[in-house]
């Protein structure tokens, strides 16, 4: 893979300088190799969330991406049952291995999102879940024994946009705005085989405009370094220009031009999932798995989690000063956070006390006036 080759090529030196370099050679240039070895031994983990209305091909796409069937016994609800359905969170975890590299992959599914007739706040269970994972990690990190912390934080969320409309719908905007500060959102145009190339271009432009208009922060690909080779830079540029990706998924293998490919068979032709001229599936796969998986994890740890942690600590310290306790000069150790219910009760009681105090003051004033 290109990343592996890149740092190896920097080690290669021309023969003339070798003698000089031998004298000055310290040896820390082997660090990347050591990192590589250690990480292979430790194994990787990745949590991916998929969200979108049902019928947009989420499970098919996950199947095509990771080439394993995660949804063997899935029960699809009928339309009547979905009228007042609530959103559930389902987790599927699999261990997959490729060339000695182990990956613990968790897919978080959100069945029922956007399916009911009244979808107000249907993204609340999802934001609660993401916050819960952050909270659990926060507590583990601040604990005494930090040896085996399980990282269940959501690293990436693939959001499926329906291709049958003219752009983003209110429920899409609501979901993305509720989650863009907590999770890396990668928007996708689902079932792109119902759009001709000109329509895809128009829809992508429209979606990009609307994302800017509503102030949604989707995952931004990092800028590549200036000393990368031209090929890589070109790839990176193409990647950025084709966001949001228009994808097609398929569980079946069909025969096309003598080859067996993953695709969909129509009377008028065969759509090949891995054909770059047909859809952006390859770009998505490369981005998600082959080049940017670690960057997604880094952004989750460095940006989203740190925001959550700072916010949490701020809330805790402001509560302490409200209770008029002594302000300690040393940083306060994070207390075990009370669960949401008791916090709500405390807040309610505070409000009541404040209200009663105000009423008492008013009555005193009235008496004085009289």
């Amino acid at each position: 893979m290109s990343t592996g080759l890149r740092y190896k090529s920097k080690l290669a030196t021309p023969a003339e300088d070798k003698q000089d370099i031998d004298k000055q050679y310290v040896g820390f240039a082997t660090l990347p190799n050591q990192v590589h070895r250690k990480s292979v031994k430790k194994g990787f983990d990745f949590t991916l969330m998929v969200a979108g209305e049902s019928g947009l091909g989420k499970s098919t796409l996950v199947h095509s991406l990771f080439l394993t069937d995660l949804y063997k016994d899935r029960k699809l609800l009928s339309a009547e049952e979905r009228i007042s359905q609530t959103v559930e969170i389902l987790k599927h975890t699999v261990d997959i291995e490729e060339k000695g590299v182990k990956l613990k992959l968790t897919i978080v599914d959100t069945p029922g999102f956007g399916d009911a007739v009244n979808n107000s706040e249907c993204w609340k269970p999802i934001t609660d879940y993401v916050d819960q994972q952050f909270e659990q990690y926060f507590r583990d990190e601040s604990g005494l024994n930090r040896k085996n912390i399980q990282d269940n934080r959501v690293h990436c969320c693939l959001y499926f946009i329906s291709p049958f409309g003219h752009g983003l719908r209110p429920v899409d905007v609501g979901f993305m705005k509720a989650l863009h500060e907590k999770v890396n959102i990668v928007p996708l145009i689902a079932k792109a085989d119902c759009l001709v190339p000109s329509e895809i271009r128009k829809l992508k432009e429209r979606i990009r405009e609307e994302i800017d208009k509503f102030g949604i922060h989707v995952y931004q690909f990092p800028e590549c370094d200036s000393d990368e080779d031209e090929d890589f830079k070109q790839q990176d540029r193409e990647l950025k220009e084709s966001a949001p990706f228009a994808v097609i998924g398929s569980n079946t293998v069909v025969e096309a031009k003598g080859q067996r490919v993953r695709g969909r068979l129509y009377p008028w032709g065969i759509v090949e999932v891995e054909n770059q001229a047909h859809c952006d599936f390859v770009k998505l796969r490369n981005m998600l798995i082959r080049t940017h998986m670690h960057d997604l994890k880094d952004v989750t740890c460095d940006v989203h989690y740190e925001n959550y942690r700072a916010h949490c600590i701020q809330q805790m310290t402001s509560k302490l000063t409200q209770d008029n306790r002594m302000e300690s000069p040393i940083p306060i150790l994070p207390l075990p956070t009370p669960d949401a219910e008791t916090e709500k009760l405390i807040r309610m009681k505070d409000e009541e006390l404040r209200r009663m105090q105000e009423m008492l003051q008013k009555m005193k004033q009235q008496m004085q006036d009289q």
Binding site: E53, L76, A79, H166, P170, A277
Partner: protein, 425 residues
């Protein structure tokens, strides 16, 4: 609209055979000539979410470009937009009205999405009913705006109906002829299409939704209608762009992997929809609307107003008598309400008067009290004044006495110094 004439059952009709050609076999032709010269009218309602392809399908069906701007997804509610067009083919004129649901399926809370649609359909029925009940009516050149067919656009998810679709179709099935169609069908592969269609039909049946049944009572069309019914709901693709296929231009969509031809029966059911909707059953749709849906609406409406077909003595009521009785009842109620309001008004005025009187009394009392206190204070002040004058007098007397003493003292002093001076000298 022709009204069915009932035959009294006790008369027996004799079948006679004719001995020559009379010529009344030209009656259908006369009817056709009359209708053709009048022109036909047809109203279609398209229900489906924004962007599902309603306008494109209408353009493709009628082979013209109906002008319309695509809607945005930010409509706060569902509203209906009706547009009327005059089309002509050979010598037949058609007044076509297309009603669009703008903003359907976009809101986050879709509980009330079906209401504007039901209200619109009822309003058209109401307008026709009002015209029918008029004293001087002109039904023969009344522009009939009742919806004859409702095309319900189902999104091609591949799984089943959406919850919104089910709820809306249940509300509409007793008011309009529903023809469900699968929109943008070029996204469903062949093997998935059959499963999807049967899932939809079974869901409709299990929830008791009555969609439009193509008529199979007439021999000429029974066969074709029966074969077409098997393919319900029709999976359609619409396109106004033409692509060169072979050596002719045809309506199609050009993909990198192939070309979807709209009028190719292997690619989609567009041709079937056109046949069923326009070429074969258009007149039947209009008739069903009038005889079934409109009559149902009319009956419900009149029953609501209190009309019955027969009075307690099972003699047919005349509309006029019922109307008079209703009118009197209404006037009586009006009078009663007026009385009540008048009484309430009088009571209120009395209450207010009593209140004001009390306030007046209080004011008088206060005034008396103040006057008394004022007099008392005045007396006190006068007393104090007298005292003060007395004191002043006393003071003056004392002052005068003191002065006298002082002058006396001075005089005696002066005499003393004079005596001293004399002594010295």
């Amino acid at each position: 609209m022709a009204v069915a004439v009932g035959r009294p059952s006790n008369e027996e009709l004799r079948n006679l055979s004719l001995s020559g050609h009379v010529g009344f076999d030209s009656l259908p032709d006369q009817l056709v000539n009359k209708s053709t010269s009048q022109g036909f009218c047809f109203n279609i309602l398209c229900v489906g979410e924004t962007g599902i392809g309603k306008s494109t399908l209408m353009d493709t069906l009628f082979n013209t470009k109906f002008e319309s701007d695509p809607a945005t997804h930010n409509e706060p509610g569902v509203r209906l937009k009706a547009r009327s067009y005059e089309l002509q083919e050979s010598n037949v004129r058609l007044k076509l009205t297309i009603v669009d649901t703008v903003g359907f399926g976009d809101q986050i809370n879709k509980d009330d999405s079906y209401k504007p649609i039901v209200e619109y359909i009822d309003a058209q029925f109401e307008a026709y009913l009002q015209e029918e009940l008029k004293i001087k009516r002109s039904l023969f050149n009344y522009h009939d705006t009742r919806i004859h067919a409702c095309l319900y656009f189902i999104a091609p998810t591949g799984h089943s109906l959406k919850s919104l679709d089910l709820v809306t179709m249940k509300k509409l099935d007793s008011k309009v002829n529903i023809i469900p169609i699968i929109a943008k069908a070029d996204t469903i592969a062949k093997n998935e299409l059959h499963k999807f269609k049967s899932k939809i039909m079974s869901e409709l049946v299990s929830n008791g939704v009555q969609i439009y049944q193509f008529p199979t009572d007439e021999e000429t069309v029974a066969e074709i209608n029966a074969t077409m019914s098997v393919h319900l709901p029709f999976a359609v693709v619409g396109s106004t762009e033409e692509v060169k296929i072979g050596n002719k231009m045809a309506k199609a969509r050009q993909y990198p992997w192939g070309v979807v031809q709209v009028e190719n029966e292997n690619h989609c059911d567009f041709v079937k929809l056109r046949e069923m909707l326009i070429r074969v059953n258009m007149e039947d749709l209009r008739e069903q609307t009038h005889t079934r849906h409109y009559e149902l609406y009319r009956r419900c409406k009149l029953e609501e107003m209190g009309f019955k077909d027969t009075d307690p003595d099972s003699k047919p009521f005349s509309l006029q008598e019922t109307y008079e009785a209703k009118r009197n009842e209404f006037l009586g109620e009006l009078q009663k309400k007026e009385e009540e309001m008048r009484q309430m008004f009088v009571m209120r005025v009395k209450e207010k008067e009593a209140e004001l009187k009390e306030a007046e009394k209080e004011l008088h009392e206060k005034f008396d009290l103040l006057k008394r206190t004022h007099q008392e204070e005045k007396k006190k002040v006068e007393d104090k004044k007298k005292e003060l004058e007395e004191e002043v007098n006393n003071f003056q007397k004392k002052k005068a006495a003191a002065q006298l003493l002082q002058t006396q003292a001075q005089q005696s002093g002066a005499q003393q110094t004079k005596k001293d001076k004399d002594k010295k000298n």
